[in-house]
Symmetry: C2
Subunit: 387 residues, 2 copies
């Protein structure tokens, strides 16, 4: 199958590209490396040094014999996107190519605008290019569970059957996001649903929980094939940050009361979910939504797991709940449905001691490279004078 | 009160500015005249020639003795918006400053992107400027009833109390728009609700139906004070188009089966609704939504009303349903709630024979200027090869 991975230089994009390349697909990746620039702006870098995309593609070819094609350019440039689609004619588009950080989008006016334009315009251009060049292709779009917020009702998978004043309809599940970044994913979902409804496009919107993990079968094949692992306040997610704090010997710091509860997923399962979506595509005109996570934890529970496993390994781990830089419910109901990917055959790799052990060990190898200055939160959700 | 009207050069913005100026408010308008450029692009111009904004402001001062301040610039420029807010320090912001046409947004890739960036970024910059310079000001934002689509349940005013699997919550009403333009209004609503929730801003989101009418008390005070009346396929709404077709002696052309049903509102009532929102502001942190229309008609009903009144006036009017350029339900349930503005005191000016009579007479004065080339639809919602 011809698979185009947008954001193919990134944490998930690169291992996804190798995974499909390893399974007899023709794979191309698109990236403009703007994420690297954003990392520079906030002073963050991945814990484990990563080779540039050209080098990785070359190593991958040497090891696997398979070519991964590179297109370098910006998804917000409609002519570039048009050319890539007309040239490669993908059957599947896996779209990770967006600004992925909530705190980054909350730095201030400029970053909020940059995030919304980057994400919304990129996805619009993808929809138009699909319509023009490959109307039967299947878009697999990475969204986030954060689109839903934390409603007091069970969260369904994208759509909900509603009964109101004696009448019924199936409607899009009401969403209420927690940052300008999360809002872009809602905007995208609405634009994509329109493309499916009006143009007959096929799309799977994956509302994914925070991803953790460092390695996949493919990244382990060569040191130069590893993917970017972030632990800073801007690009690192909670579990990754906590593990690095435990290794560094500083306190593990849940935000606020720590009752914030989310669905989490292992990087291995993320890629398997993409594969399940590829193998079982959406129908023509269908806007399909899967809630993509395997286990639910509060941040306090995550911190406790890291402490427990860290101490088994001889680390001294303390937990210190700090003032929450975000504005969010710190105690809330949370019961999202997530059966559709399980029905397709997903067999979750759960967050157990073995996995935590291997993550911590990998981080210990790079302990000297940990930059403690980038972990504690500086970006705040509420009023600051000059942003 | 200090009232800032965004999009103050436009069809609704200009009469709104005069209305408040006439009632002892300090009024400033913001515009960048890009709507005039868009009109050029599609070859449309208002039926009744309109003076430029500087001339109108001067005539208004001569007649009323009141100054309206002009800020010329682009809402997508965060520095410009910041300067306007820091300088004028509005207590109320009436935000009409967006690309207002569904067909324009459906011309192709470029126009879809231009529409979404213009509308979403402009509104984001307004939110940030409110937060920085006047966190207690009240944003009155023009949205559209078209955000809701045509669900099979009653449409509530922005929020809905939902019971699901035995639990309850009040959530944003699920929306499903019919064009990339309508989608921008959903994106805006979501961004604004976030600004209220996280920063404590005050906002009233007016989900307005199509507006008809040519004159207000203020525009009638001098020929040079009139506002732009559009009847073309891109910027003209159904009733305006139908009236012009009746006067021109060509068939009145509802799209498709003509069962598309919408809530309509007179321009006089639009401005009164804004006033009611100004006088009864949202609370701190409140995202309040009003459905702003006074009567519900199908397009076939509108066409029949125009035919009836036109024939009373001696015009020969025929109706010809044409192929629908849009993709939309042509027969559907439609029962939107719209009690909140009535509760605040709105007394609707309904679409009756007197009003239609005066609209048709005004159009007859300018019959020679009608350009028949711009009325029939060329922009189509479904697949075309090269857009």
């Amino acid at each position: 199958m011809k698979i185009l991975v947008l954001g193919g230089d990134g944490y998930l994009g690169w291992p996804t590209a190798m995974y499909f390349s390893n399974r007899n697909n023709e794979v191309a990746v698109v990236d403009n490396f703007i994420k690297r620039k954003w990392e520079m702006e906030v002073g963050a870098s991945p814990l484990i040094p990563i080779a540039n995309l050209h080098e990785r593609v070359k190593v991958w070819k040497d090891i696997s014999g398979n070519e991964i094609k590179i297109y370098i350019g910006d998804l917000t440039n409609d002519r570039f996107v048009g050319k890539v689609f007309a040239d490669f004619r993908p059957e599947v588009i896996v779209h990770y190519g967006e600004q992925p950080s909530a705190p980054f989008s909350m730095i201030g006016n400029e970053k909020a605008v940059e995030t919304q334009v980057n994400n919304v315009v990129g996805t619009l251009n993808v929809l138009f290019s699909m319509k023009r060049s490959c109307p039967n292709s299947h878009l697999i779009k990475l969204g986030t569970m954060g689109e839903y917020g934390t409603p007091n009702i069970d969260i369904e998978e994208g759509w909900i059957n509603i009964e109101h004043k004696g009448r019924k309809d199936r409607v899009l599940f009401p969403k209420r996001a927690g940052s300008f970044y999360h809002l872009t994913k809602i905007h995208d979902s609405n634009n994509i649903e329109f493309g499916c409804r009006v143009w007959g496009l096929k799309a799977t919107d994956l509302n994914q929980g925070p991803v953790y993990g460092i390695e996949t079968e493919e990244t382990k094949r060569h040191e130069l094939l590893c993917t970017s692992f972030h632990y800073d306040e801007v690009f690192g997610t909670a579990l990754n940050r906590f593990c690095v704090q435990a290794v560094a010997g500083t306190a593990v710091t849940p935000y606020g009361k720590g009752g914030q509860t989310r669905g989490y997923i292992n990087i291995i399962d993320t890629i398997r979910c993409i594969e399940l979506a590829v193998l079982n595509p959406a129908e023509k005109g269908e806007f399909r939504v899967f809630n993509q996570f395997t286990e639910v934890f509060s941040v306090n529970e995550l911190a406790a797991l890291v402490k427990e496993q860290g101490e088994k390994m001889g680390l001294s781990v303390k937990i210190e709940n700090i003032q929450n830089p975000r504005k969010e419910a710190e105690e809330h109901y949370y019961n999202p449905v997530h059966t559709r990917l399980l029905d397709l055959g997903l067999q979750p790799h759960k967050l157990d001691n073995v996995l935590l052990d291997s993550m911590l060990k990998r981080i210990i190898e790079f302990k000297d490279k940990i930059n403690l200055d980038v972990i504690m939160p500086k970006v705040r959700w509420e009023n600051k004078p000059n942003n």
